[in-house]
């Protein structure tokens, strides 16, 4: 395996987030506390082969979101993100 084989895009966690939020989250924007960049979740880097899921800033690699699942409960942590922003949920 070369380079960053395990690095995926944020849309790799769309299903997991979609099971928790009312709408697709890959277009939600997330602001990085490390470098200040704002990107759609789908454009950030997802590491899903781990004890939990880590979404990292595509600019500076800081951990924006960490998701863990224990005893059927999902928890999302926001270690290095300022905010998560999404539009109104719609029918489409």
């Amino acid at each position: 395996m070369e380079g960053e084989a395990l690095r995926l895009d944020g849309n790799a966690i769309a299903g997991t987030l979609g099971g928790m939020f009312v709408q697709d989250m890959t277009e939600a924007r997330i602001a990085c506390k490390g470098c200040g960049n704002v990107e759609p979740v789908g454009a950030e880097h997802a590491y899903v082969q781990a004890p939990g899921i880590v979404l990292r800033c595509s600019h500076c690699d800081e951990a924006l979101l960490v998701m863990t699942r224990t005893a059927g409960r999902h928890r999302i942590w926001f270690p290095r993100s300022h905010w998560l922003e999404m539009g109104e949920p719609t029918d489409s």
């Binding site: 395996m1 395990l6 895009d9 789908g42 454009a43 029918d91």
Partner: protein, 250 residues
């Protein structure tokens, strides 16, 4: 408030396998009937979950291959060496079996035929699946924006949807399809015969002035190399959307 009902959270549902088509020796398309399927957009995917009798579970994501306009939902799966889920889907699954899935998923890596600008699609191996969905959607909606596909495969035999791509390209307003075969080429082959690199992108990609929308899909290393190459050509990074399939592909 007269707003349409809010779509509920994604839930697992059961689809029934109604047809199986072998695209190449290692790749199969699975057609599913999913009750109350809400429709999808080109580029979205489904999560598939398998459960063994003792409760062991494995889950993978697969891009939807069928156009939103098609009657049936289809996913195309490549059998990977040591792939416990792909091994099952390509080798064991039969018509009549049920498959647990949730979707459609993903709003970021999607393309709609009504979008502006020419379309550039760059596929590595099984990364062709969501991009083929986009081309099928374009065809079904009589889309006229320019479309170009650069498709990297190991050999001619391993080109997925090969014949259909030829037909699409030959149709009126059809996409331009450019193949590169990286490992072996048929006799008389005059096309590209190497991995996608900067020079190939410079020749095959749209001029940046035409403001294309670009989708790149395939193994992570392929996607990163191509996306990086496009940015070097001057493509603004927010116009290049990527879907990395991980180390081995979809």
């Amino acid at each position: 408030m007269a707003r349409a009902a809010v779509r509920g959270r994604l839930n697992w549902t059961l689809g029934e396998v109604v047809e199986l088509i072998d695209e190449t020796p290692r790749v199969r398309t699975i057609f599913l009937e999913v009750p109350e399927w809400p429709g999808h957009r080109a580029g979205q995917h489904v999560d598939v979950r398998l459960t063994a009798e003792d409760g062991y579970q494995a889950q993978r994501s697969y891009s939807i291959a069928s156009a939103p306009e098609d009657g049936r939902l289809a996913i195309t799966v490549e059998r990977l060496p040591d792939g416990e889920v792909s091994e099952y889907l390509v080798g064991e699954l039969r018509r009549g079996d049920k498959l647990e899935l949730r979707g459609p998923i993903g709003g970021y890596f999607v393309w709609e035929a009504r979008s502006d600008g020419p379309l550039l699609l760059v596929a590595g191996g099984s990364g062709i699946v969501p991009l083929m969905c986009m081309l099928r959607h374009r065809r079904a909606s009589d889309g006229t924006v320019g479309a170009r596909l650069l498709y990297s495969s190991r050999s001619w035999d391993e080109v997925i949807y090969r014949d259909e791509l030829e037909r699409l390209a030959a149709g009126s307003n059809g996409p331009e399809v450019i193949h590169t075969l990286t490992r072996s080429q048929p006799p008389g082959w005059k096309g590209y015969a190497r991995r996608v690199d900067g020079a190939m992108l410079a020749e095959a990609a749209w001029a940046t002035a035409s403001m294309p929308m670009t989708f790149v899909c395939g193994p992570t290393s392929f996607v990163e190399s191509v996306a990086g190459g496009l940015v070097l050509l001057g493509y603004p990074s927010n116009t290049v959307k990527t879907e990395r399939f991980g180390p081995t592909g979809g």
